[in-house]
Symmetry: C2
Subunit: 219 residues, 2 copies
């Protein structure tokens, strides 16, 4: 069944990037269908895509007849149907730690810098490019200060966010670091985040998921 996986993706979407890493970590082949978030007003607003994903966001995973939305729900779905290699540890408190690290990115950093939010700051507050960059960097910095503390002060942090196995927290962290660099966010205060990002960057699963490696990336 895994050969039927189709991922609606955009090369530079952090949320799609997460799911690409999850699929790669589990060794699940998939077909990419590109949804261009900017061209022609955004292909995510086309009737065909809205029927698939009423939120008009990427990613969407289609597994046979099943349509799964929301990157974290997709990652948990992959964990449910293909438990190994695991994205989450075994013990409940450890699972909670990994999920909390993941959600500190997925709920409290990334949504504030999503394309539609930037567009809204322009529309409602007349924010120009520089104002939008300040907004972005504010939320990345706020989030990374907390994440660095959560990671640096825990003996459970290993080569990756939790021990020495890459998982759900790492697949959120790496796209957020990529995004932070894109917005030229100073990262010198986050040595643990950068160390983990570098460790992940050595893995094929993360390399193959990089935005520039996607079929819809600009040449």
């Amino acid at each position: 069944m895994s050969s039927s996986l189709v991922l609606y993706s955009y090369w530079r979407s952090s949320a799609a990037f997460r799911v690409r890493i999850a699929l790669n970590l589990k060794g699940l082949p998939y077909e990419t269908r590109a949804v261009h978030l900017v061209r022609d007003g955004g292909e995510q607003h086309s009737p065909d895509y809205v029927a698939l994903n009423p939120q008009q966001l990427v990613p969407t995973l289609v597994d046979g007849g099943k349509v799964i939305t929301q990157s974290m729900a997709i990652a948990e779905y992959l964990e449910d149907i293909h438990p190994q290699p695991a994205l989450l540890p075994v013990e409940a408190a450890d699972r909670a730690r990994v999920r909390a690290l993941a959600q500190a990115v997925a709920c409290d950093i990334h949504p504030l810098g999503n394309l539609r939010v930037l567009q809204r700051t322009g529309k409602q507050f007349s924010a120009d490019d520089e104002q939008q960059a300040i907004w972005m960097r504010h939320w990345i910095t706020t989030g990374f200060q907390a994440l660095e503390a959560m990671l640096a002060h825990s003996r459970q942090t290993g080569r990756y966010c939790h021990g020495d196995t890459p998982g759900l927290a790492d697949l959120c962290l790496v796209p957020q670091v990529y995004n932070a660099r894109r917005w030229k966010t100073p990262l010198g205060d986050y040595p643990t985040i950068l160390r983990i990002d570098a460790a992940c960057a050595e893995l094929d699963a993360f390399q193959a998921a990089m935005p520039e490696r996607q079929p819809d990336a600009p040449k």
Copy 2:
């Protein structure tokens, strides 16, 4: 062990509200420790609380010596340690549907209207109360349009978001509807959301979690 559960909460926090519902649905008694998000510049920024929760957000659940942050991670933790009554269905695709509905609130509506985000629109864009209300209603409306479609067009929607058992999606939806009313968001276009909200409101688990019923609510 469940008698040792301590929830750091604020009466009007949507994220704390979610966890209160989860604890109540599972019948787990807990002690509330109020964290006042506004008084004295915000008790969530006090050194003692920052040591517990570096994100300086509520809620935090303490279970014996375990400290769990992030409302969705806490709900999944409760599901892991006390599987029944379940907040999630059994089948993987059904679990993904419920998580996606939950995350459509927890990732794509609520974070954009968090107190700190409103404060930031004031500080960076000089947004006044009316501008902040417009911002809030924009994101609630955008999110509810999608959620209404996701719920109304699915045969899996029942008395609650998924079938006839309240769960993870409902405990996200109800606090968001409460928040929408607080911001005077027109809700006439969301009959399915309102129907489910009303069904939940009949349950003790939701009633006892209401902001006004909390020990730190203003008299």
